[in-house]
């Protein structure tokens, strides 16, 4: 089997059309000429920016999970809850599938993404290639749709409004950190340039 591959051409992942990539990388998107799929996304200083966003994302992630998220005040009784308590309560009540699903989508996968990005980008920044980088990057790309923090945010708003008539809901400090985290994660997904990372990994490759 030959070990060669071509990176000046790209095949659209949605329609398989072969096309040449622009020689000059300017910020923005490259779309497929036939079906309009986004083939590549360039952003300026992608590596530095993604690294900074991933570090702040990780800090916000810990703050969001360690501090109280929401408190409920119903007739003088105050009930605190943290981010993780939503999956814990499902687990405790015997809904193992639901508990695992909520735990994985709101804790495990987002945490893994942030750690994986740091693990890959920090060494690459200094021209080093981390161990198992290819495996880590592959898992990072395939688990991406399963991190659902932004959906959890919408659910929080729905839950707060729903409880509005029967009890007072007090947003905890983690709520503010969590809102920021959503913004940081959105910015991170825009600034991250997978093709750049593959190129860097190629260059560092010692076969």
């Amino acid at each position: 089997m030959t070990n060669s591959y071509n990176t000046t051409l790209i095949a659209c992942h949605d329609c398989d059309l072969l096309q040449r990539l622009p020689a000059i990388r300017s910020p923005g998107k490259v779309n497929c000429a036939r079906c309009g799929a986004t083939l590549q996304r360039y952003s300026r200083n992608s590596l530095d920016r993604s690294l900074a966003l991933a570090v702040s994302g990780l800090l916000l992630f810990f703050v969001s999970n360690l501090l109280p998220f929401l408190a409920l005040n119903a007739q003088g009784r105050v009930q605190d809850s943290s981010l993780l308590s939503s999956s814990m309560i499902l687990w405790q009540e015997g809904n193992i599938f639901l508990g695992l699903l909520v735990f994985a989508t709101t804790f495990l996968f987002p945490l893994f993404s942030l750690l994986a990005i740091l693990y890959l980008l920090a060494p690459l920044k200094f021209g080093k290639r981390p161990r198992f980088s290819i495996h880590v990057f592959r898992y990072l790309q395939s688990t991406e749709p399963w991190g659902m923090l932004e959906i959890f945010m919408l659910a929080t708003l729905v839950a707060v409004v729903k409880l509005g008539d029967i009890a007072t809901v007090i947003p905890g400090p983690a709520m503010y950190a969590f809102s920021l985290l959503i913004v940081v994660l959105a910015a991170l997904s825009i600034s991250l340039d997978p093709q750049l990372i593959w190129h860097r990994l190629d260059r560092q490759c010692k076969r």
């Binding site: 591959y5 071509n6 990176t7 095949a11 398989d16 939503s86 395939s142 919408l154 839950a159």
Partner: protein, 206 residues
């Protein structure tokens, strides 16, 4: 516009790193991407069969998801379980229109849209239709993008359950409906992931 696909050029595009590898002439068994080592294939093997399997499983589970209560709110010892649709109606009756809209779109409209679109795409691919290729590809991307948002209702139940957990005043219990509904969301996500949109375009390359 020249239209040469990777498959016609004897190349395989890696779904992970997008490198283009040459297809070996004696290709028996698995081919690995020379760059990232993923198992690569010109088209997802068994794409149509697998997508149908996930989709049919999702359609079957969609029935208990709507018939059984998604959660029961027990308020001061009494309360009744509600299905997804009853939940939406309750919200409308309480005048919470924006919430009713969010729950309706996320829990009823999106799952139905996704299942109908996937079935339509599968049938049109099997019939080798060349009708509106670009629009059908867009439709696929749309279903892939919006599918995750159906999880909203599951998260709402989890948050409500956590908030009122120790309260003797009220308790919120997820029902069989929510379990089936979560399974529907996960299965349709698998189905969309397993569907290979390049099959849509193969009809015009033949």
């Amino acid at each position: 516009m020249q239209t040469l696909t990777a498959a016609e050029a004897g190349l395989i595009s890696c779904h992970v790193c997008h490198a283009l590898a040459c297809r070996p002439t004696n290709s028996h068994g698995r081919i690995e991407c020379p760059r990232c080592g993923a198992h690569i294939h010109s088209r997802i093997p068994g794409s149509i069969r697998d997508t149908w399997c996930y989709l049919i499983a999702a359609i079957v589970l969609y029935i208990p998801a709507n018939v059984y209560p998604i959660m029961s709110v027990v308020w001061l010892g009494k309360g009744e379980p509600a299905t997804i649709l009853e939940g939406v109606v309750q919200l409308i009756e309480e005048g919470m229109w924006p919430l009713a809209l969010i729950v309706f779109v996320a829990s009823i409209f999106i799952p139905l849209l996704k299942m109908v679109v996937l079935a339509f795409l599968l049938i049109s691919v099997q019939r080798k239709s060349t009708w509106r290729l670009v629009d059908r590809t867009r439709l696929y991307r749309l279903t892939e993008f919006v599918g995750r948002w159906s999880m909203v209702d599951i998260f709402v139940i989890a948050i409500l359950a956590a908030l009122v957990q120790f309260g003797s005043l009220a308790s919120i219990e997820p029902g069989i409906g929510s379990l089936s509904f979560a399974a529907v969301v996960v299965l349709t996500m698998f189905a969309a992931h397993r569907f290979d949109p390049r099959l849509i375009w193969d009809a015009c390359n033949d």
